[in-house]
């Protein structure tokens, strides 16, 4: 369990983190979302013990990061922003150093290094000097050192940044494989990553939390949640669509119509699909490319973070 209590951090006059309180349990894959400068990285640096909060505390499985830093750090695997590493070292030497620091010796040490090299597909570059590697490989090296000791907590700052789509997918698969009984906190700008990988999304803007829920619950806040889009051809389409019960708004783009659903009394969204299909059948319209949307995270993100800025 990670307990973050009322964290505050300012750099001179700039208040980077202004009161963040969260609890994260094993099994959670938590995605920190937020505009640049919102305080995501600063929060992560306080969780991992690189920065001390001005106020508030972080405890990792009972260890206060400020008061018992080593105990906490032993449980954490951290990939800092930009995946820093000592460029003059070879991948192999670097991972051996991390293994040394993590307390491994002899055969166990070699085995662990070999395992993460395999896991992150770094076997071919194990003797390459790190600064000669491409960005994607450097990030994989950073991930390798973070998972080397099988930590209970993984804190990954933009883990797929700079990776090509294949590599992104591999990292996401890795995260999902690891998530079983671990706490994983990732920060990302890629909204589809949140939907794909995270069990929980926390949007941070201007130093505070503005949303905290499953990706699905955030999607449900979108205007487009349960919206129905289709390409329609026929007569009297627009008038009929506006008259459909449960339709809040109709967006047009050529032959394509998007029906936005109104909120019902219970707070859920109206189900527009049966009504639309019945109408189309009755009027003999041609219907194609029918889509029911779950909601657009980028729209929710923008709304929540812009409100904050304003």
């Amino acid at each position: 369990m990670i307990r973050i209590q009322d964290l505050h951090k300012a750099f001179g006059h700039v208040a980077a983190v202004r009161g963040i309180t969260l609890e994260v349990a094993p099994g959670d894959v938590l995605g920190f979302l937020g505009p640049n400068g919102a305080g995501k990285s600063t929060t992560m640096k306080m969780i991992t013990g690189f920065l001390l909060p001005d106020r508030g505390a972080v405890s990792v499985f009972g260890h206060d990061v400020a008061k018992a830093p080593e105990a906490a750090k032993r449980l954490i695997g951290y990939l800092p922003e930009g995946a820093p590493a000592w460029g003059e070292m070879t991948v192999d030497a670097f991972l051996h150093f991390i293994a040394d620091v993590r307390g491994y010796r002899g055969v166990e040490r070699s085995e662990r290094v070999a395992r993460v090299l395999r896991e992150l597909e770094l076997d071919n570059v194990r003797d390459r000097v790190i600064e000669t590697l491409s960005k994607g490989f450097k990030r994989r090296v950073g991930l390798a050192q973070a998972i080397l000791h099988d930590p209970k907590v993984l804190v990954l700052d933009e883990p797929t940044d700079g990776l090509d789509p294949n590599q992104k997918q591999q990292v996401r698969n890795l995260i999902q494989r690891l998530s079983a009984d671990r706490i994983i906190i990732i920060s990302t700008h890629i909204l589809e990553e949140v939907s794909a990988v995270c069990t929980r999304a926390v949007i941070i803007a201007d130093g505070t939390v503005v949303a905290d829920g499953t990706p699905a619950s955030l999607e449900a806040q979108s205007r487009y949640h349960r919206a129905v889009s289709a390409t329609l051809r026929g007569d009297g389409i627009d008038d009929a669509l506006h008259a459909l019960p449960g339709v809040r708004e109709v967006e047009s783009d050529g032959d394509r119509r998007t029906l936005l659903a109104a909120d019902s009394d219970e707070g859920t969204r109206a189900d527009l699909l049966p009504g639309l299909l019945a109408l189309a059948n009755e009027r003999q319209w041609q219907v194609s490319d029918l889509v029911v949307e779950r909601g657009r995270l980028d729209e929710v993100f923008r709304r929540l973070t812009r409100e904050r800025a304003a």
Partner: protein, 244 residues
Amino acid sequence: MNSLMAVTRRELYAYFATPLAYVFLAIFLVMTALFTFYIGNFFERRQADLLPFFAFHPWLYLFLVPALSMRLWAEERKAGTLELLLTLPIRLRDAVLGKFLAAWLFAGLALLLTFPLVITVNWLGSVDNGAIAAAYIGSWLMAGAYLAIGSCLSAVTANQVIAFVLTAVLLFVLVIVGFPMVLTAFKGWAPGLLVDAVANLSFLTHYEAISKGVLDFGDVLYFVLMIAAGLAATAVVIDRKKAG
């Protein structure tokens, strides 16, 4: 191995992974030879000791040691690896001590590589090798004191050049303060106690006897205390930066 040794080992690896180590050693050896034989008038003196060699160390170290210490912390901060280092389960004191030890051992290696001088002087005459051994230890201690101060100043900034300049200047002040000429300036007006205090602050004062082969306890203590103070200051600076 424990984390202190791991840090030291990694740091030494870094020295030798680039031309840094070899270039530094080469320059060090060339300069010490230059100073000993030409500027120190080694042959003209006709004495079988290494005084000309040891006499220049406080001055040589002024620009050679900051070159070693500047990268200890400044480079890490700039490259982002400081964040990696400080989030690993390594006690801060182990990180500070580990890096210092690597630099100090490297300086020791540089001194060791001057052994041809010892062979030369032994071949040329009868030598007090005990005095020479003592002088080597003293010089190494002084190098350690210089490095500890350099380590602290390297932690203060993310810019290696600034670290170098600050270190060189501070070390220069600490050396020059023991210079007879400077002390005379004090003797004119300052009470005896102050003059003594200022003189005792200087590297030169404490290195004087050591360079001649006399390991006075007070002098050794001075260097050890300087090392301890420099390293403690390094830890404080890094800690403060975490909070600030």
